[in-house]
């Protein structure tokens, strides 16, 4: 069973709310949900949509073949109808304009959203809720779940009155649908009651950070990263965290570096343009060996580009950002679930190796809601990798950058003991003071680089799916994994395997030299120049073909399938 619904309209029509509510209802009803947002860089008007794919098996990608279009305005019908499948459905408010028809559709039904809203709750601002009710009414979904979800959603935010008005409107919308003589022919959707979570990438990152004990969030707002920051603020009371808006991105990165120096796990969130401004700070964190976690939520570049759209265009930039050579970690989660655990890992690696870690998120991952099992917290523990008070009290002298075999210097905090802690952006002696001495400088350069050995062991190697001997290999990183994985699951072709990379830097070439040798390799990535392909060739010498998408929209199953066919691989 599968149902693919797109709700389209203008910004300000509350699409995000009803999209989220519908997703939540399906999720609570025991279905798997995959919901994607498509929005413009404006607050009101324009054209936007929210697309919800519902299924009874695991789904991890967007699909542009719609079963149902819910059009909140007239323009949306025109703009979106070409994506509707044969036998699809359009639900819209025909208002005074009357009925429409569209040859491909099994039914085009006008539901007077506004009228229902006004009648049920006295205000047409509830129109979108009428639409939700109607949708669920038509498909015969369990409405009690809907009322429950609406109640929870609005009760806390806007109070009992608004919750009730919404429920009344939803009920009226559903009633309208039930009473309608038009009955859509769709597969039956069996509801159960599920305890799964519905979560998007940015929520998962915020929760991951809080789980990791991050206590200081300091950012300058920037789409699509802002929701991480907002989610951290939302729970700041519960976790006693400080959430501070910086005056600019240089401030943000340097504030978290300062807080890290003083011992607090800290994070900043931004997107490409803001990341540019943090690049100098990343080098500072590296040479001063101060753990920080930075989220770069990629959006379509270069420059301001398409500011609310997705892209995977910052891989090589992030890996090489800032002048000089230094060790850093870059993690690129492939799903909200992975985003949660990788964020925790980001803090762990940052503390253990005393270096900056960047999480490469993107608008698609950030805003996409999926159904997942509850996070398993049993394995989550916080190790700050700090010296104990006992260890410190036994010391005559403390050198912050003491040279060790592992390259990791035991870390103490300022005021933890009588020992002072000296950190510096200049090259320094082991006690942290700036130096012009060649030997001292070389020792530090080597010390920092030598951490790679142990770090390499902590980096999870790429995941392989399908037959390792298959002669075609698709390579994905970050958010593009889901679409490739789902497509290959569907197609079940022995001739294609999939390699996905989430812990993307440092990345050792050995695996690729071995695994990719004499195979047809294709990187599937959301950028214009094939950055993963370049990276793999850089570390392994292996030439990798590409399937790229860089129009600001995520890969869809259909698109990838078509491209693989063009390449003769499918």
């Amino acid at each position: 069973m599968e149902l693919n619904i797109r709700i389209a309209g203008a910004a300000g029509q509350g699409m995000q709310t009803i999209g989220y509510i519908l997703s939540k209802v399906f999720s609570r009803g025991g279905h798997e949900v995959f919901s994607v947002m498509d929005y413009q860089s404006r607050v009101r008007g324009g054209h936007n949509y929210y697309q919800i794919r519902v299924s009874d098996r695991v789904i991890t990608a967007k699909n542009d073949e719609l079963d149902m279009l819910v059009a909140l305005n007239k323009e949306s019908i025109e703009l979106e109808k070409s994506d509707i499948k044969d036998g699809g459905i359009i639900i819209y408010d025909g208002g005074a304009n009357g009925e429409i028809s569209y040859e491909k559709c099994q039914m085009c039904v006008s539901v007077p959203f506004a009228k229902i809203a006004v009648e049920a709750a006295g205000d047409k601002i509830y129109s979108n809720t009428a639409a939700v009710g109607a949708v669920l009414g038509f498909i015969g979904y369990d409405l009690e779940i809907l009322y429950d979800v609406i109640n929870k959603f609005f009760y806390h935010k806007k109070g009992a009155g608004v919750a009730k008005s919404n429920i009344d409107t939803a009920r009226a919308g559903a009633k309208f649908a039930k009473k309608s003589d038009r009955k859509p022919a769709i597969e039956e959707m069996k509801c159960t009651r599920s305890e799964k979570m519905l979560i998007n990438g940015n929520e998962a990152i915020a929760l991951g950070a809080l789980a990791a004990g991050c206590k200081f969030f300091c950012s300058y707002p920037m789409t699509p990263s802002t929701s991480i920051f907002v989610n951290a603020a939302k729970y700041s009371h519960e976790f006693n965290a400080v959430v501070e808006q910086a005056e600019d991105e240089m401030a943000a990165i340097n504030m978290i570096i300062g807080a890290s120096y003083a011992g607090v796990r800290s994070m900043t969130t931004t997107s490409g343009g803001g990341y540019c401004l943090m690049v100098e700070g990343i080098g500072f964190a590296a040479i001063a060996e101060l753990p920080v976690v930075i989220v770069n939520s990629q959006r379509s570049g270069p420059s301001t580009g398409l500011p609310t759209r997705t892209e995977q265009g910052d891989l090589l930039f992030t890996i090489n950002a800032s002048h000089g050579d230094f060790l850093r970690v870059v993690l690129a989660p492939s799903s909200p679930r992975d985003a949660f655990y990788l964020t925790i890992k980001a803090f762990e690696l940052a503390d253990k190796y005393q270096l900056p870690v960047t999480i490469l998120d993107d608008q698609y991952l950030a805003d996409t809601y999926v159904t997942i099992d509850e996070f398993d917290l049993s394995g989550v523990s916080i190790d700050r990798h700090l010296m104990s008070d006992d260890e410190l009290s036994g010391l005559d002298e403390y050198h912050r950058y003491a040279v060790t075999d592992s390259g990791i210097s035991p870390r103490a905090l300022p005021s933890q003991s009588r020992h002072v802690v000296v950190s510096d952006s200049d090259e320094h002696t082991s006690d942290g003071h700036l130096t012009e001495d060649i030997d001292a400088a070389m020792q530090m350069k080597h010390k920092r680089a030598s951490k790679l050995k142990r770090l390499d062991e902590d980096m999870k190697p790429p995941d392989i799916f399908g037959d390792a001997a298959a002669k075609n290999v698709l390579l994905t990183w970050g958010s593009t994994f889901g679409v490739a994985h789902e497509l290959l699951e569907q197609k079940k072709k022995d001739s294609i395997s999939l390699v996905n990379i989430q812990e993307i830097w440092p990345l050792s070439g050995e695996f690729f030299e071995d695994f990719l040798k004499d195979k047809r390799c294709i990187a599937v990535e959301g950028n214009q120049s094939g950055q993963l392909a370049k990276l793999i060739r850089q570390i392994s010498g292996i030439k990798v073909d590409t399937i790229l998408k860089y129009d600001g929209r995520p890969f869809t199953l259909n698109y990838l399938e078509e491209k693989l066919k063009e390449k003769g691989v499918l």
């Binding site: 809080l210 120096y261 009588r418 000296v422």
Partner: protein
């Protein structure tokens, strides 16, 4: 207690030595211990100062001393955080942080080494340079106005705004102690002759011009403070120009009510209950 073995890289005769010596004395007299203090700086000649004091040090990036210091203070508000950096660092590259950390009223003390020049990079104009000042870059002399940092600090309501002079060590020490003791954002701008690159604003030049602000001056009155702050020329006032009483940033942060941020612990059960919302 605050002395170190680190080799000093300043030019012999530089005004910075006076700031260094006086700061150590002030810290001693304030009965502070090295491990309770964090000295934060950017990059420049002045910014090397923290290395010459036995205390915690965070010597960061040019222009970014203030955000780094703010981060330290937020993480552990029991630390005494003192920024000691150059005028280019604080008012040039770092100008935006200067404005916004005063708004934030973060509880740190900023000691600006105001030599009216970029020392470390060998003598270009600073935002504090006097119009007409000639350098190898400003070959026709500076044509921008002085930044008037004290006026800015008064306008934005820093809790403590003062000026001193390296040639008046008693005054300097008094100002340092007052600045460090004051809660909220404290700015102490110190006239500091750079003997190598500023042949205009010399020791003598300052010496002839500075005068102590008299006790008549109402340092709690913003407009009066503003007038004092914009005085510059044949007479240059030193002393406290403005004192405010806005609550310090950390005292307004809910999360810091009971303990410092670095001491706060995470409870997984809090997270568990929050996760229920996502179901």
């Amino acid at each position: 207690m605050f002395d170190t073995q680190v080799e000093n890289a300043w030019c012999p005769g530089c005004g910075n030595f006076s700031i260094l010596r006086t700061l150590k004395e002030a810290l001693l007299e304030l009965d502070l211990k090295p491990h309770e203090i964090v000295l934060v700086s950017g990059i420049g000649q002045a910014a090397k100062l923290p290395h010459y004091v036995n205390a915690n040090v965070l010597n960061g990036l040019h222009g970014r001393a203030l955000p780094a210091a703010a981060g330290v203070k937020i993480a552990n508000h029991r630390l005494h955080v003192i920024v000691t950096s150059g005028d280019g660092d604080l008012y040039g590259e770092g100008g935006n942080h200067f404005i916004h950390n005063i708004r934030r009223n973060i509880d740190i003390t900023v000691i600006a080494h105001d030599n009216q020049v970029y020392g470390l990079t060998k003598g270009q104009a600073a935002p504090t340079s006097d119009p007409g000042f000639k350098t190898k870059v400003q070959v026709d002399g500076v044509i921008l106005d002085r930044v008037n940092q004290l006026g800015l600090a008064v306008t934005l309501g820093a809790n403590f705004v003062a000026r001193s002079f390296t040639g008046d060590r008693a005054h300097l020490k008094e100002m340092m102690k007052a600045a460090i003791s004051k809660k909220g954002f404290s700015l102490l701008d110190v006239l500091q002759p750079c003997i190598s690159f500023n042949k205009h604003n010399t020791f003598k030049w300052y010496k002839e011009r500075v005068y102590h602000i008299d006790s008549e001056h109402d340092r709690t009155d913003k407009p009066a403070a503003f007038e004092k702050a914009i005085e510059w020329g044949d007479k240059i006032p030193i002393g406290v120009i403005y004192e405010g009483k806005r609550p310090a940033f950390s005292s307004l942060l809910r999360a810091l009510k009971d303990s410092t941020l670095v001491e706060n612990r995470t409870d997984m059960n809090t997270l568990r209950s929050i996760l229920r919302n996502y179901m």
